[in-house]
């Protein structure tokens, strides 16, 4: 992160009274299992946050609670200054674990339908979104026949087609080849520079390392660390082989 950008951010933060997302003492139980045990944090707008942690640490749950897919058992969530997530639904995008796409429709058909849900009837905008993630909008193949990596990209296009101010990504790089993943992180960086607040849940910290503003580490439903960038110690827990593989093709 350059110094210039850092200054810019501090300026923006000074001016912006309102956090993009604020969670306060959020607890979420699934029956007898506590997935989140009192998470409190505020997130300034216009930054790229990476949520790290082991499987079952509560990363995805936190993201789903913030996006309003799950109600917190206790605690409060405020998104874009509103406690009622439904009222700001058109201002954020979400990309889930699963692709959230209809297998029987083509990429463009999928995007046109989901854009319509946001009140957008604009085919060119949908084509643009598909081009943005590096695919050809004229492809007529159905999404079900795409590779996992391509489906993830279309899923990202679906999440950003309405131009959200806030973007939540849940494991966006699972089963995505390294090149595609890098293109996706570049795209995210550009969106962040344009002012979008982005949350990425991942266990591939190395991929996000070049572009992350802040990282948060969750463990057993608790927020245990919050750091600028992604410190090297958080990149090591992953198998060395995987890291080398990620670096190699460059």
């Amino acid at each position: 992160m350059t110094d210039k950008r850092a200054t810019l951010h501090s300026l923006v933060n000074a001016n912006a009274q309102q956090a993009a997302v604020a969670v306060h003492n959020v607890v979420r139980n699934f029956g007898r299992f506590a997935a989140l045990r009192g998470v409190s944090a505020e997130f300034a707008p216009g930054k790229l946050y990476v949520l790290l942690g082991e499987n079952g640490a509560g990363k995805s749950t936190l993201l789903r609670v913030i996006a309003g897919l799950l109600a917190p058992t206790r605690g409060t969530v405020e998104v874009l200054g509103s406690a009622n997530i439904r009222s700001v639904a058109h201002r954020f995008g979400y990309m889930g674990h699963a692709p959230l796409l209809y297998d029987e429709l083509s990429a463009l058909e999928n995007l046109e339908y989901f854009a319509a849900l946001y009140g957008i009837e604009d085919r060119e905008r949908c084509r643009q979104a598909i081009r943005t993630v590096g695919l050809d909008p004229s492809l007529e193949r159905r999404v079900g026949q795409y590779s996992q990596g391509m489906r993830q990209r279309i899923s990202l296009a679906r999440a950003i087609v309405h131009g959200p101010e806030l973007l939540f990504l849940d494991e966006p790089f699972s089963n995505v080849d390294l090149r595609s993943a890098r293109q996706m992180t570049e795209l995210l960086a550009r969106m962040r520079d344009a002012g979008t607040t982005i949350f990425v849940v991942t266990h591939q910290a190395a991929l996000m390392e070049p572009v992350a503003d802040e990282c948060l580490v969750l463990d057993a439903g608790r927020l245990i660390a919050r750091e600028q960038g992604i410190p090297a110690r958080l990149l090591t827990p992953y198998p060395a082989a995987e890291r080398e593989e990620m670096e190699a093709p460059r």
Binding site: N29, F30, G31, R32, F33, A34, R37, A71, A220, G221
Partner: protein
């Protein structure tokens, strides 16, 4: 609360005993039907209590949809469960009375049929509660509770009309009008006793439902404590 519960328990037991004496010994023998008619003193109060409980279930369900309180959900569950228990009594004692009086166990008469449909609806409600998993149960169950209750008048209308087109045995010989006042006393005492019994059952089940929830919560918290020790 605990002393109130015990007091209520004592009163209920006494009333159940008194109601039993009223029904079996004090109320006069019915002229044409004989002693079998005494089933009526348990049958009718059970039916009223069951209908009342289903109404409570409806109110609690609607309250839950609006306010989302754990208490409303617990009350909905408790009233449906106890209601089904009383409704089962109604459906079994009815045929036992009908057999010697009408010569048949069952007839697709309006009251019988709508009670049966009611029973089916609330059994399906309990099954939904049993088979649905996780935090969504209360909402889904509340929706079904509201649907079920609104269905009741339509069921009754449909079946009444259905029956008026077909010959049917006369229900209870129209004894409602000419009921001896001592017979009414037996009905009322038993109604009181059964209502109190239902209150006790619902109260207990309600507390248990809340306790179950608290226990779940405590489990989640306890797991937390363990993690911290590790």
């Amino acid at each position: 609360m605990k002393t109130l519960f015990r007091l209520l328990l004592a009163v209920t037991v006494l009333l159940l005993g008194y109601g039993f004496c009223q029904a079996m010994y004090i109320a006069p023998r019915e002229a044409t039907m004989g002693d079998v008619q005494r089933i009526f003193y348990y049958h009718l109060p059970s039916a009223w209590v069951a209908f009342l409980l289903f109404f409570v279930n409806f109110l609690a369900s609607a309250w839950y949809i609006v306010r989302r309180t754990d208490g409303a959900d617990a009350l909905a569950l408790a009233s449906a469960e106890v209601g089904v228990s009383f409704c089962t009594i109604v459906l079994i004692t009815g045929p036992i009375w009908a057999r010697p009086i009408w010569g048949i166990w069952w007839t697709w008469d309006a009251r019988l049929t709508s009670t049966l449909v009611l029973w089916l609806i609330y059994v399906s409600y309990l099954m939904l509660r049993h088979y649905a998993a996780g935090g969504q149960v209360p909402v889904l169950a509340a929706a079904l509770g509201i649907f079920g209750f609104l269905d009741v008048p339509i069921v009754y209308m449909a079946i009444r009309w259905f029956r008026t087109q077909h010959p049917q045995p006369v229900i209870g010989g129209g004894e409602g009008s000419g009921l001896d006042h001592r017979m009414w006393m037996a009905v009322l005492w038993n109604l009181l006793a059964f209502s109190l019994l239902a209150v006790l059952f619902v109260w207990t089940r309600y507390n248990q439902a809340l306790e179950e929830r608290a226990l779940e919560e405590a489990h989640a918290q306890a797991a937390l404590a363990e993690e911290e020790l590790r």
